[in-house]
Symmetry: C2
């Protein structure tokens, strides 16, 4: 749960991150930056800011904004009806991001799962993405990612996005954000 002020602050920070990288948004897009705390109420550690450019029934493009050391928690995109599950390509635009997917665990990993949530992180095959690097994640594959100390901008290109169907390893997570009014 976040307050409107927290959401607005994160939106402004994400917009500044894009602007510093020369990535232009319309005012309408800025106002609609999605701030996801995944229901854990600890945005600084577990969270993601998202600009959805387009999401049709065929393809989707987004910018993912990560603050320093912010983590997008482990999840997968399962088949939904005739859709075999979302396939997605992450391309690092600025900063640094460590991506973890299923496969041989790396001997040492650079990221740290958020404190208190360690049991919800189970895949440790590390891929380091610097600006210009990209990686494509097959459907229904567990993955999570964390930004380096400068944060990161990651472009996501994918098949259709149906976030409500994402399956998170952490049973406490709610994908769709809940915002409370200050007066609540």
């Amino acid at each position: 749960m976040m307050t409107r002020a927290q959401v607005a602050q994160a939106q402004a920070r994400a917009a500044a991150q894009l602007s510093a990288q020369g990535i232009a948004l319309t005012p309408a897009e800025q106002a609609q930056i999605e701030v996801a705390d995944f229901g854990l109420g600890d945005l600084a550690h577990t969270g993601l800011q998202i600009v959805v450019y387009v999401n049709t029934d065929r393809y989707c493009a987004k910018e993912l904004l990560l603050f320093p050391r912010q983590t997008c928690p482990e999840h997968r995109h399962p088949p939904v009806g005739s859709d075999r599950g979302k396939e997605e390509t992450f391309r690092c635009r600025s900063g640094q991001v460590w991506l973890y997917v299923e496969g041989e665990p790396s001997a040492q990993i650079a990221a740290h799962p958020p404190l208190g949530s360690e049991s919800a992180y189970t895949v440790f095959h590390e891929i380091t993405l610097l600006p210009g690097d990209q990686y494509t994640i097959p459907p229904n594959t567990k993955h999570w990612f964390q930004a380096g100390d400068q944060g990161a901008i990651v472009s996501e290109f994918s098949s259709a996005s149906r976030d409500a169907y994402d399956i998170f390893t952490d049973p406490r997570i709610r994908r769709l954000p809940e915002v409370m009014d200050e007066a609540d």
Copy 2:
């Protein structure tokens, strides 16, 4: 037909355009920038430079680089087998681009079809794209576009790309580039 030197020069210019905008490519991507003169041998006027980030059977993402007043000629993406035809979203990143699609012709248009090729331009519904603006083109819809005086960078998000099936209005056009060795 282009010479290898012409291709290399256009690749270097396109890479510089991306770099100036803070868009990082790997060395391998730089070496593979596609230079399309559409077989007309007049790249400065009719041409396009393309970086393909990813092209799976489900989605595709590219950067389109246009030099000042360079034109991508009129074409459409027809259905291919079970694919209903490529659907694509153009998002302007820098510079300015005028996009023309089917529909009510605009009273005045800002772009000029390349001299001598006017008959191959038949749709004139104008959409102006500045940084942060985007437009989605339905499958099988004729379209063409031209950059403004500063050139343009346009991100293209789409369903799967099958360039060889594109249908151009100009019967002289060959989509897949032909390059000759200097000694030829």
